[in-house]
Symmetry: C2
Subunit: 333 residues, 2 copies
Amino acid sequence: MKKIGKQTIEFDNPPTISETACIVGPKEANGPLAKYFDQCLDDEFWGESTWEKAESKIIKETANLVISKSGIATSDIDYCFAGDLLNQCISSSFGLRDANIPYFGIFGACSTFVEGLSLASVLAESCAKNVLVATSSHFCSAEKQFRFPLELGNQRPPSSQWTVTGAGSAIVSKEGNGPFVTHITPGKIIDMGIKDGNSMGAAMAPAALDTLITHFKDTNRAPSYYDVIATGDLGYIGKEILTELAKKEGYNIEPNYDDCGVLIFDKKNQDTHSGGSGCACCGSVFSGYFFKQLRDKKIKKILLIATGALMNATSSQQGESIPGIAHAISIEL
Amino acid sequence: MKKIGKQTIEFDNPPTISETACIVGPKEANGPLAKYFDQCLDDEFWGESTWEKAESKIIKETANLVISKSGIATSDIDYCFAGDLLNQCISSSFGLRDANIPYFGIFGACSTFVEGLSLASVLAESCAKNVLVATSSHFCSAEKQFRFPLELGNQRPPSSQWTVTGAGSAIVSKEGNGPFVTHITPGKIIDMGIKDGNSMGAAMAPAALDTLITHFKDTNRAPSYYDVIATGDLGYIGKEILTELAKKEGYNIEPNYDDCGVLIFDKKNQDTHSGGSGCACCGSVFSGYFFKQLRDKKIKKILLIATGALMNATSSQQGESIPGIAHAISIEL
């Protein structure tokens, strides 16, 4: 592999995404993508006593599922990358503590899935046969931790997004017949001073723009090169901002651009305001929907840009703005 | 690079650790390693209004310092890896948001420094010229978040450790004259069921053992191969446990083994009970002390094993045990 342009890595022997899996919660099961998910849960607890334990179980079972679907023996999975939104990423570390696979914990907030796929691809091209990637989020644990406990019954402002309950997981392999990871463009932290924790899409859109344009410049590609350009969880507001900002920079992404947070819920009937968010938003929509579209050759080239907001509850209380980040990965047949 | 044995990566063109830097707090400045640190602070706030902001400033200035000491232009640093103990790793993301370097957030609790050095080495051998690694911790922000606010004046039990206030940072480069990163052994999550959040050394020692023995087996090396074997923050209790457990497995590490948490504070006069801990424990002791020992050729081969406890306050409240992890890196002249 080699670095090209400002910050993109081009793979000489592009690794394959061998398999993906996703498990989602009951709200996601009522959304427009339900039929693409491997498993839909009936409730937010899945038999556990707390939301945190439920989230851990979801990522654990999703990782188990991708391994069993892939037919790859666990002993042939060399390393794994995982992370989530809970403090100290406990969903991942508790969910994968019995996996018996060397473990790299990552934290990219909702950009975690693509951060994981990126680093897994680097390891797969350079020294590993198979690398596991997993991420999760949970509406109830996220609301409790970042905003208010659900029991308070707070109203959510129209700009807020709905954290996806679920997990997405993938195995990236050195050998395989694709879909191939051809490029990654790891993003810089971009902070435009937005402080509203209920307007995440607006906070993250400038980071998505920076990574998007850097990717196009580094690879000499135009938006039209891709069948789909998909951001992770900018939601309705962030999607509009990114489309507009990109146009101002001379890139028209409108014809082939969509956002996982826009796709996963029904705007009319599901009352999620500005759409979905969370690590599992990008994780489950890619693992469930886009990966199958690639497998079925309905799309052949996708640029997946997962976006993350790198604040916490304390930083917001202390008056800080919200730093955003976006990592892009180009996946092609 | 290639994978050897069960989980070790051996570098064909070992990357160089070009430079390190560390800034520590006032307690560390009164410890036995004070003269090795680049900068010692007079107080825990460093002019900031909160501990979290102070910690962010420490990691920011430490990263700036390693860059200026190295003489490498920021534009020649391709990527960075950073993480810390604060919820959602805000010390790192706020500290590095102005760095203008593509950013991979990592979370390995107190194993973060070696996790970062490991992934930076992979990127340096495969595609990057220079990669920055940074990590921080802060006694006051950690106590507030993981145990009790300092204002409560709680007593600390004898098994507890003192979170190091400070940051460690390094630049890993493709080209250079060493010290070289020759091997990394990323660790698995090991959970032996210990639930006492004031006995971290005991909780992490089994993970250190697993990685240590795997490293020896994978590389066909004996403990005596290294001038120094150093764990990150097992402290007095964990150090004793690891020494004993290793002996039972047939590895006598006693002659050349030490722990950064034991080295950084004076047991008699500094009242830290079982020693130091935190991401900055391994980060600052390596960046300040061991790196200079390597540069001065006082030691030629070190195996650095950073250990992390992957729980959070909520998981402990919910009755969960503490999953441990340990990542090892072999650094040689």
